[in-house]
């Protein structure tokens, strides 16, 4: 399969099969791919924290939903409309439903740390898709509160929470823009 087919097939998933548990080997495969990404000064400023423990997933969910409630109460205008139209709410079932949560952290002191880590997340997503695994790159409103539930050093910043499992989500992939909407050429090309 070409990378274009792989990328086109991949969609963000927010509903997971709780009882069908991917192997840790497959999750580690995706991290093995992600860590091949380039990074500023080759600092490789990423840290992948893998959670299987239900109680820890639940504590994370409670912490996130508390902040999400506040966020939804305050949201308005275009954002509020978009959230409602797409059926989103403060409830984040996927945080306990998915067999794994992978929390990705960036080394605060490394150069171009956040850029490098997000680039590697691009690698990670495609590798999960290759293994038939689904995820949503979930960014909670309260990163620090969630990070505090782990024992990861304060030198690292939580960038994203990725619930990982097999998809149970029939929602179609959101449409992408046409190439001509996102490409510009210098006048001589």
């Amino acid at each position: 399969m070409s990378l274009l087919e792989l990328a086109k097939n991949r969609k963000t998933v927010r509903k997971f099969k709780s009882d069908d548990i991917p192997t840790m080997e497959d999750v580690l495969y995706a991290i093995n791919v992600a860590k091949e990404a380039p990074s500023g000064m080759n600092a490789q400023p990423w840290l992948f924290y893998i959670i299987k423990d239900f109680e820890l997933k639940q504590r994370i969910r409670i912490e996130c939903e508390k902040a999400e409630k506040t966020f939804y109460d305050r949201s308005k205008g275009k954002l509020k409309n978009w959230l409602e139209k797409h059926g989103f709410s403060w409830k984040k079932d996927f945080l306990t439903q998915a067999p794994y949560l992978v929390l990705v952290f960036s080394d605060k002191l490394a150069p171009f740390s956040r850029e490098s880590v997000w680039l590697s997340i691009g690698y990670f997503l495609l590798a999960l898709e290759e293994k038939g695994l689904a995820t949503v790159p979930y960014t909670p409103p309260n990163f620090t509160d969630v990070a505090n539930l782990t024992d990861v050093s304060k030198d690292y910043r939580l960038e994203v929470i990725m619930p990982i499992g097999y998809s149970n989500d029939s929602k179609p992939k959101y449409k992408r823009k046409e190439l001509k909407e996102i490409v510009l050429f210098d006048e001589n090309s």
Copy 2:
């Protein structure tokens, strides 16, 4: 080829064949892959500006090297050592040597705009590798000066310059950390 092999094979390249020019089709293929990436609120906040014109590449190079000179003059300690050890200098030949420069911009107003764009750059790098094309995600010290050389709207922020062409660089890929250095497990996994 598996994605792991593709990712492992890919290395950052700073020397390009000037006379061996990849097709625009291959460059656009990689953008087609990149635009399949997920993004905050599906805003797809990326813009790819493709430059073939030599004079524009030269203006960009002059602007970057001016800022690089200042940067190198000021660098010290760990950074200075790293730069010297790896044979880097303020000279950025690749900016005129590569047949293409692709400048990637992010929509300043979109949610999680920078994260989304860097994630899509991960997709982009792997797609270039699939087509046998090489690049270096180059971050100049003076993004705004470079952006001002283009006609891209001020609503967009320049994130990276990617010279694209066939590799003429025999430098090996930098070593990656072991999996165990970048993976943590919750105590019950």
